[in-house]
Structure formats: structure tokens, C-alpha cells
């Protein structure tokens, strides 16, 4: 579905990604793990069209998305739930969800999708006329995911979903993610919660210093000696 071949990305002169190869298959949950500053967020930003890449290829459902704008990439069906939520804080919850449905194809299903989101996250219905900035951390994360889903994605990329959430909430959010995946949306998950991520994901990639160092089915990755010592602390 999404294939990344030999991608290099830069911030000015600083090379943040080198020779990244990665594949996300339709219908799967794929996890991208790795330490801080490994380049995970940069990879998601590159896919979304926010960080230009100088080398390599990114294709989505067979179509090259090199040199496309973020606003066009989202209408192809790639949504990003950004690190730190980044809701529109002074807009209401409802307005945030409406912004998710901004592109033409999503706008015509606005009402239907709003109902779906309120079914999936009932708390958002309660809070719908509240400013998004006034929500609790967990509610904000739900709102950010719902906003992403409002774009009607085929592929949903979620960056550091569990950051700053309580263990109970993290558990709940991961359950949500599997549910969203079951509804037919492919999931690409960036996580620091390696344990949880490996449990829900079908496949996992480990990224270090701007490149992929390990990749395989989650069960294999979870049993890898290197991963066990470095990431799982066993």
C-alpha cells in the first residue's frame, strides 16, 4: 500500500533520514519503534509532504507522491495524527473534526463521519462545543485521532499516541486502534511504548539514527535478543 524506497530527508543541511526502506501493507498495523531523535517523526512528516526529500521514492497505492503538497496527499487517503496532538486549541472539538473533513471528498460525508466519530469516542460528543485546548490529555488524543479519521484515510499514521497518557488510558487507546484497524483502515504507528505496540502490531520496524536497523513480524521482533535488551529491558 505504502512503500518507501531509499529515502533521504534533510532539514537544511542536516540529514535526518538516510536510505530508509519500509513497506506498509494494506489492512495491517505496522509499528515504527526507536529511540528519541531516531527520525520517526521526520519519516511521517516526509510521507505527509511536510519535509521534502532529496532522494528515493515514496509510492502510495502505486502512485508516486514525490513532490506532492500535504493538502493533496491527505486527499489520496493518508492521514497523520501528529506528535503532541496539535489540535486547533481555540476551535471547538466539533470545529476540529470539521477541519479534518476539509478536503472535497471528505466534506460530502461530513455528517455521516461525525456520527461515526461520536459513536467511537462518545466523550467527544459531550465535549463537542468545548474548546479543544480545554480537553484533558486523553480527550485531546481522541480528538486528534478522530480529526485524522474525518479525512477518510485508507492509511492512518499516529505519532506517539501514548505520550503523556496514564497507563489505563494507554491500554484503552491501543484497544481503540485495533478497533479502527478492524474497520478497514491501515495503521502506521510510531511508539515509545514498545511492549504495547508490539502486542497490537502485525509488523514492526526499528529505526535508529535515521535509518531502519531491524524489521519483521512483531512476534519475531519481540523475541529478538537485541530488542529484548535495548527496548524491552529484559
Amino acid at each position: 500500500m505504502l512503500s518507501i524506497e531509499k529515502v533521504d530527508s534533510y532539514y537544511g543541511d542536516f540529514q535526518a533520514l538516510r536510505d530508509v526502506n519500509l513497506e506498509v501493507n494494506e489492512g495491517k498495523i505496522v509499528a515504527l519503534l526507536g529511540p528519541n531523535a531516531a527520525g520517526k517523526t521526520t519519516l511521517l512528516s516526509t510521507i505527509s509532504g511536510m519535509v521534502p526529500y532529496r532522494k528515493g521514492n515514496i509510492t502510495f497505492q502505486g502512485q508516486h507522491i514525490n513532490a506532492m503538497n500535504p493538502e493533496d496527499i491527505v486527499s489520496l487517503g493518508i492521514a497523520l495524527v501528529p506528535e503532541g496532538r496539535r489540535l486547533f486549541g481555540t476551535l471547538t472539538v466539533l470545529e476540529n473534526l470539521e477541519m479534518g473533513a476539509y478536503s472535497k471528498h471528505a466534506r460530502k460525508d461530513l455528517q455521516k463521519n461525525l456520527e461515526k466519530m461520536f459513536d467511537l469516542f462518545p466523550i467527544l460528543k459531550e465535549r463537542s462545543s468545548q474548546q479543544a485546548g480545554s480537553l484533558s490529555g486523553g480527550e485531546q488524543q481522541m480528538c486528534a485521532i478522530a480529526r485524522g479519521l474525518m479525512t477518510e484515510p485508507r492509511l492512518l499514521m499516529i505519532d506517539e499516541m501514548s505520550l503523556g497518557l496514564s497507563p489505563v488510558l494507554v491500554q484503552e487507546m491501543f484497544k481503540m486502534v485495533t478497533e479502527i484497524a478492524k474497520s478497514g483502515v491501515t495503521i502506521f504507528l510510531v511508539e515509545q511504548q514498545v511492549n504495547h505496540a508490539l502486542r497490537v502490531a502485525d509488523e514492526a520496524y526499528i529505526m535508529e539514527k535515521g535509518t531502519v536497523v531491524l524489521h519483521g513480524p512483531s512476534s519475531e521482533i519481540a523475541n529478538d535478543d537485541y530488542v529484548k535488551t535495548v527496548y524491552l529491558g529484559k
Partner: protein, 295 residues
């Protein structure tokens, strides 16, 4: 006693125009992330257009809004497209340079085309007043105030209740994420610049029945709008509105009781005091202040 009320009322009415012009500046700042130092020149150009429409066709200033506002909206769109868009990602200094240059060019063109003379339009209601409880209220100033109030309310409604308006607010919050949602930000930058200029232009048209136009008439408006936006809060329409009224009253009171020559010094004084009281800078909360060189 009556004099102070009288002075405050006329200051308040003028403050409505300041609020109108400042909200235009604030919209451009919030959405496009540029301080339009040529904002006062939009007032000036609109005043000249109003003058000419009256001079050549005998058109009433209020009727001329039907022509002046669309023209100035378009002018704003063109400025954004041709001058601002190409330097959108340049340094803050570059952006300041560009709009200051635009302001000087417009002043000089006005000087060449229109000469330095003061121009006024003669309308029957220009000196008209009405009395209300011993207070005399200038009719064109009253009209200006309510027209400003109406336009600001319409903009508020637009930003709150339409899809495009909400997208503009989303851009003010976070333009990168707005793009991620599919918002075509470049188009909305054009729209915001157009609306901002049209607001400034409306201020100019409304001033015309009771004041005169000359090439440098816009300079104080840029400064006033800048102060009002800073006092009222970047991105805050309500705050900008109140700050506009406040500066209008301060100017009137200062001009009457201190010295007309000092009225500008007075609101600059307030500006400096306000910044001193909040040493972190009034811009502390303003999103994007770095991008325009305010931090």
C-alpha cells in the same frame, strides 16, 4: 463635565474606525504571518479613490464603497500574490523590508499622481450634527462607527460560522496542521489579505466625509493599528476592537486636555507602558511572533 463626555464620545466614534482598520491588520498578521507596514496606505488609496469617484462622477462617499471595497480587496489579493507569497519563507527582516518598501512606493506614487494637496469631498452631511442630552454628535462619525461595528460583526460571524472562516482560524492556530487537513492555505492567504485591505479601505471611505486626504495620510494609521493590535492581542478580535475604542478615546482626551500636538506621543506612551508592565512582551502569547520578527 459635559466637555469630557463630549470628548469621550467623539473619541469613541473615531475609535470605531481605528478598530476596523486594526482588525484588518490583525487578520493579515494572524493568517499570513506578516506585518503589513503598508496597511495605512490602503486607507490612503481608498480615500483617494473615494475622492476621485466624487470629483469625477459626483458619487456619494458611502455609495462609493460598492466600488472601492471590491477594488481594494482585489488590490490586497494582488499584493499577497505578487509581493508577499514569493517571500513567505524568507526571514522576518525581508518581509518587513517588502511591506515598508510598498508603503513608500504607494506614498510616492500618490505624491506624483495627486500632488501634495489636501483633498476633501463636499457632502451636505459633512458638518451635520445631532444633539443628544446636551452632547453634539457628528453624523458622519456616527455613521462611521456603526458601519465599523456592522463590518466587524459580519467578519466575526464569517469566522465563526462558515467553513472557510473556521479554516482561517485554524490557520491562525497552526498553518502546518491546517495543510495536513487539506486546507489550501495559499488560497486562504489571498482571501485574508484581501479582507484585511478591504477593512482598511472601508476605514478610509468612512473618514472621507469629515477629513481630508494627502499622500502621507496613511502613516499614522499603520502606527495606530500596530499599537491597537499589540494592546488588544494578536489574533484576538474582541481585544482588538476594545483596544481600538480605547486608543480613540485616549487620543481625543489627550488632544483636548493636554495638547493636540501631543496626542500621538500619548498613545505611544501607553504602548511603552504596556510593554513595560509585561516584560515578557505583549507578544508573549502571540503565535508566530518570531516569524514576523517580534521576538
Amino acid at each position: 463635565m459635559e466637555l469630557i463626555v463630549q470628548v469621550c464620545v467623539s473619541g469613541l466614534l473615531l475609535g470605531g474606525i481605528y478598530a476596523l482598520i486594526s482588525i484588518g491588520l490583525n487578520l493579515i498578521f494572524g493568517v499570513v504571518r506578516i506585518i503589513n507596514f503598508a496597511h495605512g496606505e490602503m486607507v490612503m488609496v481608498a480615500m483617494y479613490l473615494t475622492f476621485w469617484l466624487n470629483y469625477f462622477f459626483g458619487m456619494d462617499p458611502y455609495v462609493s464603497t460598492l466600488i472601492v471595497l471590491p477594488v481594494m480587496f482585489l488590490f490586497g489579493v494582488i499584493i499577497q500574490r505578487i509581493i508577499v507569497q514569493p517571500i513567505q519563507n524568507s526571514s522576518a527582516n525581508m518581509k518587513i523590508f517588502a511591506t515598508v518598501a510598498l508603503s513608500l512606493i504607494l506614498q510616492n506614487v500618490a505624491l506624483i499622481v495627486c500632488k501634495g494637496n489636501f483633498r476633501t469631498v463636499q457632502v451636505s452631511y459633512g458638518m451635520g450634527t445631532m444633539e443628544w442630552g446636551g452632547i453634539f454628535i457628528s453624523i458622519p462619525r456616527l455613521v462611521a462607527f456603526f458601519a465599523a461595528l456592522l463590518s466587524i460583526s459580519l467578519l466575526y460571524y464569517f469566522l465563526k460560522n462558515t467553513y472557510t472562516g473556521k479554516a482561517l482560524r485554524a490557520i491562525v492556530e497552526d498553518h502546518t496542521i491546517a495543510r495536513l487537513m487539506g486546507v489550501k492555505v495559499q488560497k486562504l492567504y489571498l482571501l485574508a489579505f484581501g479582507i484585511g485591505c478591504a477593512f482598511s479601505a472601508l476605514g478610509g471611505v468612512l473618514l472621507m466625509p469629515f477629513s481630508s486626504v494627502y499622500p502621507t495620510v496613511g502613516i499614522p494609521f499603520t502606527l495606530i493599528a500596530f499599537i491597537v493590535v499589540v494592546l488588544g492581542g494578536l489574533g484576538s478580535m474582541g481585544g482588538t476592537f476594545l483596544a481600538g475604542l480605547f486608543i480613540g478615546v485616549v487620543e481625543a482626551v489627550g488632544g483636548t486636555y493636554v495638547s493636540p500636538a501631543l496626542k500621538e506621543a500619548i498613545y505611544f506612551g501607553i504602548f511603552i507602558i504596556a510593554i513595560l508592565i509585561r516584560p515578557q512582551g505583549i507578544f508573549g502569547k502571540g503565535k508566530g511572533s518570531e516569524e514576523v520578527g517580534l521576538k
